[in-house]
Amino acid sequence: MELTLLNNFLINIPMSAIMDTLTVLTCFLLLGEKWGLKKSFKMIGTMIVVTSIYTTILYQCGFSKLPFYIGEILTLYIYMLVVIVQIRHFLKYDSGTSVIIGGLSAFIQYNVSVVAGIFEPFGMNIATKSGICLYLIIYMVVFPLFGFGIILLMKKLRFPSFIQHMLTVKRNRKLLGWIVGSFPLLLYVPEYLFERYKEQLWNILSPLAALLLLVILGLCGYIASSEIRQEKIREQERLLVQQNIYIRNMEEMQKEVRAFRHDYKNILAGLYLHAQENDKDELLAQLSHLTDTFDKGLGHCIWEYNQLANIQVTELKGLILIKLFRMQELGIICHLEVPYPLTAIDFDLTILNRCLGILIDNAIEEVQNHEKPEMDILINVQSDGVLFVIRNEVCNDIGENMQIFDIWKEGYSTKGNNRGMGLASYKRILEQNENLLSSTYCEKGFFTQELKVMKKC
């Protein structure tokens, strides 16, 4: 049976269909993206068409007969490129993430397909009928089983969260990028070297691919876990700093209390005198002065600490303390309010802290150039969850001209370009988490950002 252009193309279609589906699945898994039927269909569809066309063309041009496995290496690179472009285009990730995730998933599934090839007997000829049957069995049954197995394994080992964690650090991104970029070379150069000495006695490519797969997965896991450990240490250090801030503020309050204790007898004595003399006007004036100073000084302190004491989730308290401290430095008056004790939150606290950090930073950025910078933060425990409200005044000109939804666009900021990344990632978090409800509105000169963490039913 002659392998014509058409035959070749037809054979390539099911093969790429399986491979592309697996790759796209891997991408979704690694990105932690929610599985969208429409999006993935689009991605898989385009990929099947593109990959079958270019593999056919490359095969027909005799690429696979080129020395040094240049053909194979090039094919793999092109495949990776296709996946990367797909992620960038359909899932709208930035280039760095697309390159790493796309490259990694393409490589993993390509490797799996090579591993599946270990069942391929020597000298199999896909130009014969039995050869085609064998080829089909290997690549239609064995390979997809392998691929799904790898995906399930990665999911079980929480590999995606490792990768996502690695992506947050710039150095790791570079490292991953290099590894991903050199994959095809790593796979084919040893094969070439071995072949020269051992005259192709056995199929070395498959075990090599398996080994490479294990090494890469293990390496990523190791780097990520050590990174997570370090992150924990850093977290502890941060906590220590927060405690210090807290203690310092407590000491200041202590001083105020001492001062007040010193004063109050004198003040009371004065009041007593005025009362004795029936000097009602003076008495009233002094009383009102007293309440005024008390409210502004110690009263405010006590009140603020009562609020902080109501936040009984350490991580959250840490974030709020740090932000309060920063606002103090910037001269922003913050009214924090936590009317009821908050003992636990039914949600990943790192993600929640990230969201709140973004919201508070937004408000700080908006408010810090105001004449009288002020901000309200409310944390309210409700029967069905916890509500966070951050509210600040906006300048009139912004409030009226700004289209509120513009701020959700990537890179948009009222302060110039490239500073609005925060809200875009906030939005992504919202999309990925069903039990986070947000609302944002601009009304009567106030910009209010609300985030509600719903209790899981």
Binding site: T291, L336, I377, N380, F405, L430, T440, Y441, C442, E443
Partner: protein, 254 residues
Amino acid sequence: MLPIYICEDEKEILELEADIVKQHIMIHNYDMQLALATSNPEEIVSAVKKHPVRGIYFFDVDLKNKQMDGFLLGKEIRKYDTYGFISYVTSFRELAYKTFEHHIEVLDYIVKDSPDGIESELTKGIGCCIDTVVSRMEAERTVSERACFTLHSHDCVRHIPLDEILFFETTSGSHKITLHTIFGHLDFIGQMRELTQSLPEYFFRCHRGYLVNLNQVKEVNRRGCYIVMKNGESCLVSRNLRTETVKRLENHIL
């Protein structure tokens, strides 16, 4: 006859407030009556439960009752009297309590923070509140009430005027619906199908994920793939609804 309820745990201030209310009603000859003035929030709840009619409420925020402060009381009252007028009397000027506004729909805040001027502050504040209630009720009578979309979640009730709504948006497989209004957006848990049935006809489901207020449409993209709203946001139109969307829009404008 509108009943007025007062809850305040400082006895002198309670009496003062009751006097002010009575006086104000008498002077202006309003159709109102001081129904109950007490320091015990539970009494208020049981009284309202017995006669659930629209009323006016003045509550102190910091009630010393352990189970119920002013805001919990307000929330409780809202269960029986959705459209009542709740005002708060507080001694802290700078509280962020205002943020509660959206959760119980508070009419006003009266601040009593200077001890020498408390009487004048209360007289002015309470008088103002009662006058606002009167003018608001008159306005409701003359102008046909602005149609509202009412959002019930466990803890709060919000009334959003229909003419401020641009569209509803959801993603497939999600129970989270985002309501886009002129002023911003708001997430809630719900179902698109129920929404479509409960809203008037000019809300058109042009896509599985979009329910659009036809009054707020600015333009339709020429190929009919998406609708641009008056604030510039855009909504998708599903392929097989393109012609119908355009037809509905034309009919609606005519």
